[in-house]
Symmetry: C2
């Protein structure tokens, strides 16, 4: 049914290569006369010829398509804006450079010896890979270029890695809160993230930032609550929670805001809350959530650009790109209620 290059060639009385040359500019040393070229073009148009990209890609080994692998996504809108920013960054870079972007469900796995490869993608962006020997080996043996977003683990990976500066981001949060008079800090994380390197980094950043300001951090104030904040009430009742609460992620932070309100705790009057990952989601919480912002879109754009550089053989980058965070101050933080009592 579809018209092939051979159909056009036959109709024009020339070879397939002549058509390929005229229509697609292929064939280094193929010459076609102007008259033939015109005839070919006209006939191709008349026959409504479209090149089959599959056949071309099979031959050239280039698809001009990159994949995004993100194990956590089923829904983009879900409850945070993280993936949106990520996707915006990737497609803006990819489109500019003539690449399409595929989101596919099966790429979440990788073969025992490397990243899965099936010919459909020139490269892939792997978001938040888990820290395991398998991951490291998969990256090392990948047959296609890979760029990684948010691999907090420290191994030297043979790929470009974009991460944000969790320590510096936490310092911003602490600076903001101490300026508001807070001295007793809590840190909350949910089970799914409690043992990630990112959580470790953020907790470490919190401790360091406090230490640098001469403030002690009480280990009792690490709260392993559920993703929906389960456990908040008990800790609040027992007085374990400080006046400032830093939460690992924006999703959990939002849930904690709700839970606190339902329990009669007024935010920010009684408790200041800072989340991590400031996206549009933080605009939708009550009160709106003060949060540390990672430049996710920039990170994603760089990831895509480095990946495509590699695909096009321009540069090979295996470095770790560290992005500074910023702080979006919203309505969930205010002066420490105890500050006025302090001498």
């Amino acid at each position: 049914m579809p018209v092939t290059i051979r159909d056009v060639a036959q109709a024009a009385g020339v070879s397939p290569m002549a058509v390929s040359k005229v229509l697609h500019g292929r064939g280094r040393n193929v010459r076609v006369s102007d008259e033939s070229a015109e005839r070919i073009r006209s006939i191709a148009e008349k026959m409504n010829y479209r090149a089959n990209d599959l056949a071309r890609s099979l031959r050239t080994q280039r698809t001009n398509t990159i994949a995004i692998v993100f194990e956590e996504f089923e829904r983009l809108g879900g409850n945070t804006g993280y993936f949106i920013e990520l996707f915006d960054g990737v497609i803006s870079a990819a489109f500019e450079r003539g690449f399409s972007v595929t989101v596919c469900p099966k790429m979440v796995n990788f073969s025992r010896n490397g990243v899965i490869w099936d010919g459909r993608f020139d490269g892939l962006i792997w978001c938040k890979p888990e820290d395991s020997p398998t991951t490291v080996e998969a990256l090392a043996n990948s047959v296609i270029p890979v760029a990684v977003l948010h691999a907090a683990f420290p191994e030297d990976l043979p790929v470009p890695v974009m991460v944000c500066d969790n320590t510096q981001g936490m310092d911003l949060a602490v600076e903001h809160l101490t300026a508001l008079g807070h001295r007793r800090f809590s840190f909350a994380v949910d089970p799914a993230n409690a043992h990630t390197d990112e959580a470790r980094d953020r907790l470490f950043g919190l401790k360091t930032a406090l230490q640098q300001r001469g403030i002690e951090f009480d280990l009792m104030r690490i709260h392993n609550w559920g993703h929906k904040g389960e456990g908040f009430e008990a800790d609040w009742e027992s007085g374990k929670i400080g006046t400032a609460l830093v939460v690992y992620g924006e999703g959990q932070a939002g849930e904690i805001l709700n839970r606190a309100r339902q329990y009669g705790v007024t935010i920010p009057d009684q408790l200041s809350v800072v989340g991590f990952d400031s996206t549009r989601f933080c605009e939708t919480t009550t009160p709106r959530l003060t949060a540390v912002r990672q430049p996710v879109e920039d990170m994603a754009r760089l990831a895509a650009n480095l990946l495509i550089d590699r695909i096009e053989g321009k540069t090979v980058d295996h470095s770790r790109h560290i992005f500074p965070c910023t702080l979006d101050v919203r309505m969930s933080t205010s002066s420490c209620p105890e500050a006025s009592l302090r001498p």
Copy 2:
């Protein structure tokens, strides 16, 4: 570099077809003994063989990938949540059925005689096509199945079409506003959308809803403002704007909220505003925007499912699916300031 099916065949001392049969179950009347099968499997594993999907797709004419075409998108996050919901709907349906989803930049055009087709997609979802003879012809002549989202124009298209019920949606808005005491209604639309069928439908819906309630609609109150609300001040000053303003889209509505505030007009006390397309964006405006919601995600999911049904040869659907709207009441609407004055 990549290992092919022939490499495995040679290493196992069998034919490529034997490998294809064992590894992929192809070849109707090919039989392979258990011992050979085991050897093939083991060798393939050892050689880290991966099938090339391009070659397979070229042969089978199936890619298990669908495309999304959306002329307006460069940024998903942009200023509204529309595309997010759309994408969530599509990927949830597609993934469930083993399809990948590609967002590509070049599909915004179509050939003179049909939807562009390059072999990479089994079908495509076309969002908000413009109403033109070319569009209709392209759909009629498409070589791959197409499903359309939001083709407000009334032609009988040879594809499944998902639309929302603009008339009923507008009725919800009017019901809400009249219950609040409003009697003088304005309608705003920006130049980019002023001449679309959707704008026509919504304006018609507004007029009808008012008429049914015995309220007159003054044609002077159709406001062709800029996308950023340019023109609002002049019309406000001249008293042309009613007490209730219905806006074609959420983006323009958000801009109008800002502009009104800057001009000293208090929303909703002095003016109630209702937008169309209620997404998370409406949660981020000041005040939060009351808006008519289209079930975009449901529409997208159905579009994907109907498309895949068609691809798989299950059913052929050419009907127009009309989805009812709902109204999300937020903070941009309140009692009519004139209502108390009325006898």
